[in-house]
């Protein structure tokens, strides 16, 4: 079968591709080393032991890349990225920061004295390796790459170590203070609102883990442990603690960064939002305007979002190529992904799910060029006692669920809605709105959350990435206080017909909320000033294989249609045989890997007779009958029924009724339903003789019982009745007397004789020779696929005295008999 071969060919190709891909991606095994870092602590000057993986590329010497992991990770969590960069030709050093993995020491939150100094020691180490390309002695060509905790570290090392030649910093913080205590009321010098859920999750990773919980601080260095415990209890911090947070932040070192820096920021990030990356950008570019800088707002982040791992890996490599190798360059365009999340699966976004737009230059968060009026009604909202129930806008690590979770609580929420926008607008950055807040009583430490929601024309509400902007005001009284609010930094495209809502609410589950109840009157003091941007779609090329699919699909569709709807081939008619019920000519049937079931047989069944087909097991009787029925295709030769060549579906088969190798009924239907449905399936237009054949079946009331309950004899009789439906010209019965009692056998014999008398022809195969002798007037004897003899019973037995058919039969087929067993 040609198509079968094609199919196995396709399967082979697939197997080849799979095997190839698996062997190609077989993991390269890095060298596992231990390197001395900076001192363990202020008191203990012994160096920490840092575990590292060193990946060496094939072409040496090569530039080096230090890979720093995120909070909670270790050197092994970076394996995929390290292999990718190694294949791109870099010596890659990934390591576990102190307190993580098997590295010793305690976590000091990227303290310059400890973690940053550790990284410097790693650069010292790279300078001693012959595999690494050196700028000068002791100064390797090296880039730093990291995400989150490692992203902040990369930036800080670049600020504190001049040997760093390139930086890729993903979803890093700028200042722990502003990240963990965000304050979006402009100009209010008051600690922001404690982001307690995220902070708790973040620090608790350091408290427990691989090293077991030994004391309250676990792997956290005691200073940081105490800071966390104190701010978690108080919900705010001291000046000294603010200074420590600042020192552990890129904010303290950014002014010294001169290495080319790629800043990757996550839009789905309620921990270190876009404003943190923006602050890093502004600080670096203000201090050293010549520093090559590129900002990318991807669709991932700490809240997962739509991960763009593949693209970010490529961007990282291109940035490193441009700044660690000669002869390459890479653009410094500002790139923004407009993505639509998928709930399930973390597939890389496709082209229409994630459109990437770019502008030649990063514009910051405050490019506010569009002012839109909002409905100004003053609204009074409740801050509930105890801070509950609280709105859930984003859940750490799952922020994108915001759409579902941010069902607002009406009494806690003031909404200021715009009219419908008349054209497409890009909101890129942090929009601004002025609010006027008052209350009848005096309240201190007032916490509010502002956000920008989009309502589509069909009423679909969405809160971009579930982000809200917390505001903390020292005091509110009956004299309204007017504040300017920076709404969350986002990147969205609004459609014509969308409208915007500024939502001000009193609660958010992720933050520390005041415990006392209060009522606030919120008024709008200005229109909303939208941060916008002029971006153009980046052409990422067409995915050609889609067209390949389409072409393939069309070809298949056409061939299927041609195949299925091609006309039935017309049987070849032999007019000379039109009066012969069955004519068999040189029939051969060879089964695949089987015996020669029928070996060159030719005979004609005479019309108007009951013909017996005799032979022991394996004689080929049943095979022949199945060929006559069009069930089995002959290997050679042909069968003609009333002159028409038999093939599957040959119309002449409608003149044949048959019962071969037992009956076949649907067990869940009654006998009557079976016959009725069978008749309706035969495509015959005459009225059925159902009642007549039911009399022959003689099933009584059982005819309306399910066939499942029938005995073998009942099924047999029903099968014979089915074969007689419509009184076909040729009736072919295989072992018709199986399961019948003697009186039924006698009745059957009469039925068959009557059938012949009314002009039909009957073929009966049986191993009960006496039965055949009484019923048939003509016999055909087969043995081992061959025709032994045929003729009128009377003629065959004539001149043989009183020989019975049985003795004659034994005589002609010899001694190797298996007669008596059912055929």
């Amino acid at each position: 079968m040609r198509l079968g071969k094609v199919a196995s060919g396709v399967a082979l190709v697939f197997i080849f591709i799979f095997t190839f891909s698996v062997s190609a991606s077989a993991d390269y095994l890095p060298d596992s080393l231990t390197i001395d870092g900076a001192p363990i602590s202020k008191a203990d000057k012994n160096p920490v032991k840092l575990e590292v993986n060193l990946y060496t590329p094939e072409v040496l010497p090569a530039p080096a890349v230090v890979l720093a992991h995120g909070y909670g990770g270790d050197k092994n969590s970076l394996r995929a990225q390290a292999n990718y960069l190694r294949e791109a030709g870099y010596v890659v050093l990934s390591y576990s920061a102190r307190g993580f993995g098997q590295s010793t020491g305690k976590i000091s939150m990227n303290s310059p004295e400890f973690e940053i100094a550790d990284a410097k020691a790693l650069i010292d180490f790279l300078a001693t390796r012959s595999e690494v390309l050196l700028d000068t002695s002791g100064d390797p060509r090296v880039g730093l790459v990291g995400s989150s905790y490692g992203g902040a570290l990369s930036l800080m090392v670049a600020g504190l170590d001049k040997r760093v030649d390139a930086v890729v910093s993903d979803i890093a913080w700028n200042n722990l203070e502003t990240a963990l205590f965000p304050q979006n009321a402009v100009g209010i010098n008051h600690p922001g609102v404690f982001k307690q859920l995220w902070t708790g999750l973040f620090f608790n990773v350091g408290l427990t883990g691989a090293l077991q919980l030994q004391d309250r601080c676990g792997r956290l260095e005691v200073t940081w442990c105490e800071i966390y415990e104190s701010v978690a209890a108080a919900g705010t911090y001291s000046q000294q603690q603010a200074r420590l947070m600042f020192e552990s932040s890129p904010a303290s070192t950014n002014e010294k960064v001169t290495a080319p820096t790629l800043l990757l920021a996550g839009q789905a990030d309620s921990l270190f939002p876009l404003s943190e990356a923006d602050a890093n950008y502004q600080q670096i570019s203000t201090a050293n305007p010549q520093t090559p800088l590129k900002m990318v707002w991807h669709s991932g982040g700490h809240d997962l979002g739509v991960p763009e791992t593949d693209r970010l890996q490529l961007l990282t490599q291109e940035w490193l190529d441009a700044h660690l190798r000669e002869g390459n360059s890479f653009n410094e365009d500002f790139e923004v992904t407009f993505a639509q999340a998928s709930i399930i699966g973390t597939n890389q976004p496709t082209e229409s799910q994630a459109q990437i737009e770019s502008a030649p230059k990063y514009q910051g968060l405050n490019n506010r060029t569009l002012t839109i009026p909002l409905a100004p009604e003053a609204q009074t909202i409740l801050a509930p006692a105890g801070g509950v129930p609280a709105v859930i806008s984003a859940f750490p690590g799952l922020g994108g669920f915001g759409g579902f979770l941010s069902q607002l609580i009406p009494e806690q929420t003031a909404i200021f809605q715009s009219s419908k926008l008349d054209k497409l607008a890009r909101i890129i950055g942090s929009s601004e709105v002025k609010l006027r807040i008052s209350s009848e009583e005096v309240h201190r430490d007032v916490v509010l959350f502002a956000s920008l929601q989009v309502i589509s024309e069909s009423g679909v509400k969405s809160l971009p990435n579930g982000l809200v902007a917390p505001i903390r005001i020292p005091e509110v009284s009956s004299i309204p206080v007017e504040i300017s609010v920076n709404l969350p930094a986002i990147a969205i495209k609004t459609q014509p017909g969308d409208s915007l809502q500024v939502v001000v609410s009193t609660t958010d589950l992720a933050y520390r909320l005041p415990l006392s109840a209060a009522l606030y009157k919120i008024e709008l003091a200005s229109d909303i000033s939208l941060a916008t941007g002029d971006l153009v779609l980046t052409d990422r090329g067409q995915t050609l294989w889609i067209y390949a699919w389409l072409v393939l699909g069309t070809i298949i569709l056409i061939s299927v249609v041609l195949r299925i709807f091609r006309p039935y081939s017309v049987s070849k008619n032999r007019s000379d045989l039109s009066e012969v019920p069955v004519a068999i000519e040189n029939l051969v049937k060879q089964f695949k890997n089987g015996p020669l079931a029928v070996n060159d047989i030719s005979y004609k069944i005479p019309k108007g007779k009951v013909v017996g087909l005799l032979g022991p097991n394996g004689a080929g009787k049943t095979t022949t009958m199945r060929i006559i029925m069009g069930l089995i295709n002959p290997s050679a030769g042909a069968v003609y029924v009333y002159g028409e060549k038999v093939q599957p579906g040959a119309a002449v088969l409608s003149r044949v009724g048959s019962l071969v190798e037992g009956s076949g009924f649907l067990p869940h239907l009654s006998g009557r339903e079976n016959l009725d449905l069978y008749w309706r399936a035969t495509g015959r237009t005459t009225t059925s003789n159902l009642d007549e054949v039911l009399t022959i079946a003689d099933l009584g009331t059982a005819i309306d019982r399910k066939v499942r309950t029938y005995s073998q004899g009942m099924r047999q009789r029903l099968g014979i009745a089915q074969a007689m439906l419509g009184m076909p010209d040729l009736l072919m019965l295989d072992e018709p007397t199986n399961g019948l009692d003697p009186s039924q056998i006698k009745a059957m014999r009469e039925v068959l004789h009557r059938y012949v008398d009314s002009g039909g022809t009957v073929i009966v195969s049986s191993h009960l020779l006496s039965e055949v002798e009484q019923t048939c007037s003509y016999v055909i004897v087969m043995h081992r696929g061959q025709l032994i003899t045929e003729g009128e019973v009377s003629q065959l037995l004539s001149g043989k005295g009183n020989m019975r058919l049985e003795e004659f039969f034994l005589d002609v087929i010899g001694s190797d008999l298996t007669i008596g067993k059912s055929s």
């Binding site: 891909s21 998928s342 669920f401």
Partner: protein, 284 residues
């Protein structure tokens, strides 16, 4: 005696033959039972969920799918589809398509239909049409029961998507229609495997089992990240892409790929089934 091949085995006859089977009743009962069971579990399963069931205006606080399900009839329907596509619908689609020819062979009734003679192509065509109709009914019963049960249990709140957006009335029904259609299309692949095997074997369970096992096998391969992008070519890789219809805007490309691959594989397998069946020696 007049014989018209185009009148053999009419759709209605084959439909009665298949519809009256016990497995049809069992499969449809499961489709009705699943939403009832889930509602019972939610209603009887402790007080945590009651807050959302009777008011639900401050979110459920749980991120579980059950939490999503209790938001309203439309949400409940979506979650039921999510539960059912994993395994239940796969088995049902494999069942209806897989034992249609094979069970006929195992009852020995196939040879009498073919000797009637029902032309072989017509027999396959009608059997496929009836199997797919029964499949469609199964999906519709699941969706309609879920919606009704959800309506009685959780009210008619708008469809709330976990990835942003609330859809009211007509929009929600439109999204449900897209989801239902896409789920049906992705299950074409399962049906086609089962149908092809049904033509090859006389053991109904073998045909159904092969299809189910293949689906499981592809799901396992799909979970092996070392296969990388090659997984995109696995049948069933995009079987959950209907969730893209829950965004504030529908993103079509994953659904387009999933639908294309399912339809193409369906056509290929059905063609092979025809080729096989037309030449097959019927030994059953």
């Amino acid at each position: 005696m007049k014989y018209l091949p185009e009148k053999t085995l009419p759709f209605s006859v084959e439909f009665i033959r298949q519809f009256r089977r016990r497995r049809t009743l069992v499969a449809y009962s499961l489709m009705v039972l699943l939403p009832l069971l889930v509602v019972a579990a939610v209603k009887l399963g402790g007080s945590a969920d009651e807050g959302t069931a009777d008011g639900g205006n401050f979110g459920s606080g749980t991120l579980s799918l059950i939490g999503l399900a209790t938001a309203g009839a439309a949400n409940f329907t979506v979650v039921m589809i999510f539960f059912a596509t994993g395994f239940l619908l796969t088995i049902v689609f494999a069942l209806f398509a897989g034992d249609t020819v094979a069970s006929e062979a195992s009852w020995s009734s196939l040879r009498y239909l073919l000797a009637a003679p029902v032309p072989r192509r017509r027999l396959l065509g009608i059997k496929l049409a009836v199997a797919m109709t029964l499949n469609l009914f199964a999906l519709l019963i699941l969706i309609l029961t879920s919606y009704l049960v959800g309506l009685l249990a959780f009210g008619s709140s708008p469809l709330v998507s976990p990835i942003g957006g609330t859809f009211t009335g007509g929009e929600a029904l439109f999204r449900l229609a897209i989801i239902g259609t896409y789920v049906f299309i992705t299950l074409l692949f399962v049906s086609a495997v089962a149908f092809y095997m049904s033509v090859r074997t006389d053991v109904p369970l073998g045909a159904v089992g092969t299809a189910v096992i293949l689906v499981i096998l592809f799901a396992i391969l799909d979970a092996i990240s070392a296969l990388g992008d090659l997984r995109n070519w696995l049948p069933g890789h995009y079987s959950q892409a209907w969730t893209d219809a829950l965004g504030s805007q529908i993103t079509w490309d994953n659904m387009a790929k999933g639908a294309a691959s399912s339809v193409i594989l369906f056509l290929i397998l059905i063609t092979f089934a025809y080729l096989k069946f037309e030449r097959k020696d019927i030994m059953s």
